[in-house]
């Protein structure tokens, strides 16, 4: 017995609902997250919403078609969308380093900011801090949301998330930053700067002293010193940082936010999607549903794969055959090709179908929508529109 089919994910209803202010697309790398995010943004805008799409790392041609020639943190209007319904569509690409700089500038005195930005350790942290990209994407989302509320520029923000090392990175980023700043070790590093000189030695236990001396031995004294200066400079803005991290987390949990998990019908991508679904659920984050992208569909579904294979073999036999050559039609080879192609597509379609069905059964009650694979890559507004149409077809579950 098959489990009950998952309820359909009605993305049109979600996008048209004024209460939806933020849509976050997440999923493994290579599943078409950016395309889905852009297609949702376009569809919402053409339904009359005022939308900004925040992308992280779009394909070059897709970026160009959205009018994103530079990675400059500035939302720009997308050319080629249809404003008939009264909506608007802007898009921007995240500049991670610039966003981090802005955060520092916003939270420290000019003098302190200068100190931080000039620290060699800052340079390393701002570009390769584990999770910086994830954190900055969330930071940028927070900024856009405030701007939207303040100026009324947008009423819907669609975010594409970074291709994370693991599914959890981007949810963890705000918290991780918080725990980084709260960490005992950071406090410890700051102690000498605060207490002045070596006075701190008396304050801490022997174990801690040993730890710092070991760190200093391994890293070299100069590194530790850089870190200390950096952390001391950051200290003044700790409160601001942590507040921001908490605010971002609260924003993600708010019912005005909707998470859309994007997956491809492949084992790994679906496994990653499962992590996301479980994690969002655990954190009480508002999950709208799952998009299973690029499902192989057949244009001739009435012909079974096995029947097509038998027919192809018969035709092949006839062509190579000993029989009467005049009995073989000129197009026999071509028809055989059509059948063999159908066999292969049917096999892929079956596999996709089985994977999607299993995924649905494993996540009962989670709304799902399947998007058929396009024959070619999507890199223009026209293509995005057709993806949007496919996404919005709230096809009653077919099974």
């Amino acid at each position: 017995m098959d489990a009950a089919p998952p309820p359909p994910l009605d993305l049109d209803a979600l996008l048209r609902d004024d209460a939806t202010r933020i849509v976050v697309c997440c999923g493994a790398g290579g599943v078409g997250k950016t395309t889905v995010a852009a297609a949702l943004g376009l569809r919402a805008a053409e339904a009359g919403r005022r939308v900004v799409v925040l992308t992280i790392d779009p394909a070059r041609r897709l970026a160009q078609s959205l009018g994103l020639s530079e990675l400059d943190n500035t939302p720009r209007p997308v050319v080629g969308f249809d404003p008939a319904a009264g909506g608007s569509l802007d898009a921007m690409m995240l500049d991670m380093k610039r966003t981090f700089d802005e955060v520092v500038e916003a939270h420290a005195t000019p003098e302190k900011a200068q100190q931080i930005l000039a620290n060699p350790f800052y340079d390393a942290v701002s570009s390769s801090f584990a999770g910086t990209q994830e954190y900055m994407a969330m930071e940028k989302l927070g900024q856009l949301r405030s701007k939207a509320a303040r100026e009324g520029t947008w009423d819907l923000i669609v975010v594409d998330t970074p291709p994370s090392r693991s599914a959890l990175d981007f949810l963890d980023a705000p918290k991780r930053l918080g725990s980084f700043l709260d960490g005992r070790f950071i406090r410890l590093l700051m102690a000498p700067a605060k207490a002045g000189g070596r006075a701190y030695l008396k304050v801490f236990s022997g174990g801690v002293t040993m730890a710092t001396s070991v760190m200093s031995k391994i890293l070299g004294g100069q590194v530790l010193q850089d870190v200390q200066t950096f952390v001391a400079a950051l200290d003044t803005m700790f409160g601001g940082f942590r507040e921001r991290a908490d605010a971002t987390y609260a924003l993600l949990k708010d019912p005005e936010t909707a998470f859309v998990v994007v997956a491809a019908p492949e084992r790994d991508a679906l496994r990653e999607a499962s992590y996301f679904v479980a994690r969002l659920d655990e954190e009480g984050m508002p999950l709208a549903g799952v998009v299973v992208n690029r499902i192989q569909r057949l244009a001739a579904p009435t012909l079974s794969g096995s029947r097509a294979l038998a027919a192809a073999e018969q035709l092949a036999e006839r062509q190579s055959g000993s029989g009467n050559p005049s009995a073989v039609s000129e197009t026999a080879g071509l028809t055989e090709g059509l059948l063999r192609l159908h066999v292969s597509l049917a096999q892929t379609a079956d596999r996709h179908e089985a994977l999607a069905r299993r995924f649905g059964a494993g996540h009962p009650g989670i709304p799902m929508v399947e998007v058929p694979a396009a024959a070619s890559d999507i890199h223009d507004v026209e293509g995005l529109r057709s993806v949007g149409e496919a996404l919005a077809v709230s096809a009653p579950a077919r099974r």
Binding site: A28, G29, G30, V31, A59, R61, P120, D123, A124, S128, A130, P163, R165, S166, R176, F180, G183, R184, F185, V208, M210, A211, V214, M215, I218, L219, G220, Q222, V223, A264, E266, R267, A269, R271, A299, A300, T302, L303, A311, Q314, L315, R318, S329, T331, G333, L334, T335, G337, L338, R340, L341, H342, S344, L345, Q347, T348, R351, A375, S376, D377
Partner: protein, 335 residues
């Protein structure tokens, strides 16, 4: 096929690619192909994704090197999922004999700091473990100089977007440590990574974005003086329709539906106009796909690297599929 492989002298194969291109699959196939030649091979992952255990359908793999395949011909495949904390502890023990201090560091949160926050350190530790495995000798010190623990190590590396930073440990560490033992370690790792004993292979699909990322990655790798290996094209769709027939489909000949219907009837397939139209539509999409693939393949070929092609397995890649792909890589002379 008996020609010497361009990668015969390579001891460390690093496999990268855009997310979703199947770099774990390719790394696994490459490692298995080496093992099938009778070699002792280590396959390592560094992102704690358990990609290897899932690919080979074995129990989760940890920081202990575990044998996952034993070939009849004597080849062996070991797997390792590098754990950054344990690498740090090993590192402390090896260079400083700091068993107890390691525990102290753990207590004050320094290990957390070093392994999740301190930029570069994490990567140095991860790649450091791989470096150690490449150079490790079997048994005691009295063994032959050539008696290495592994004949080859295959690293399932981070995706193209992160790989250069990951491998460029020297530059990363230089930002924070200009002298000291970490720096020395980074220097030795860099020497191995930039030598002819290493090759960085890039996995791509014949789609626009993966190809673009592959081209960018090759340029970045080369700018970072990392030795480029091959381009492995994954999931190549075999042409199922002959070129001449493809042209007929592409031209959209009016009489085509009628002829196809007749052919199908001749082998007693029950047809309908919609079904025949559907078959032709599928073929038209296939024509588009083939053209796109050719376009993208030309871009990759222009990179002037060795190119190997792995077929799309319609049934998907499980442990059996990996064997098929391993044989394809061997037949094409990658190793």
């Amino acid at each position: 096929m008996t020609a010497v492989s361009p990668h015969a002298g390579v001891r460390l194969h690093i496999v990268t690619g855009k997310g979703g291109t199947g770099k774990t699959t390719v790394a696994s196939a490459l490692a298995l192909a080496l093992a099938r030649q009778g070699k002792r091979v280590l396959l390592a992952e560094v992102e704690e994704r358990q990609g290897i255990s899932q690919t080979f359908d074995v129990a989760p793999i940890g920081h202990q090197e575990t044998r996952i395949v034993h070939e009849r011909g004597g080849g062996e495949l070991y797997a390792l999922s590098v754990d950054v904390r344990q690498s740090l502890m090993e590192y402390l023990q090896k260079f400083y004999k700091l068993g107890r201090a390691g525990t102290a560091l753990e207590k004050v949160g320094a290990v957390d700091f070093a392994t999740t926050i301190a930029p570069g350190l994490r990567d140095v530790l991860l790649i450091g473990k791989v470096y150690e495995a490449v150079g490790r000798r079997r048994g005691g010190r009295h063994h032959d100089r050539d008696d290495l623990a592994y004949d080859a190590v295959v690293l399932d590396a981070p995706p193209t977007g992160r790989v250069v930073r990951f491998l460029n440990v020297n530059a990363e560490v230089a930002d924070v440590a200009k002298v000291g033992p970490i720096r020395t370690q980074a220097d030795s790792i860099t020497r191995l990574l930039r030598s002819h004993r290493t090759a960085v292979h890039v996995v791509s699909l014949l789609e626009e974005m993966p190809v673009q990322e592959s081209v960018d990655a090759l340029a970045e790798l080369s700018a970072a003086s990392l030795p480029l290996g091959a381009i492995v094209i994954n999931q190549v769709h075999e042409p199922l329709i002959g070129e001449k027939d493809l042209r007929v489909v592409a031209r959209g000949v009016d009489s085509l539906p009628a002829s196809v219907t007749a052919d199908l009837k001749s082998v007693s397939v029950r047809t309908s106009a919609a079904m025949v139209a559907g078959l032709i539509t599928q073929a038209e999409d296939h024509v588009d796909r083939v053209e796109l693939q050719q376009e993208q393949e030309a871009v990759l070929l222009a990179q002037r690297r060795q190119v190997y092609r792995l077929p799309m397995l319609p049934e998907g890649t499980d442990a059996g599929g990996i064997r098929v792909l391993a044989d394809v890589l061997t037949d094409q002379g990658m190793i």
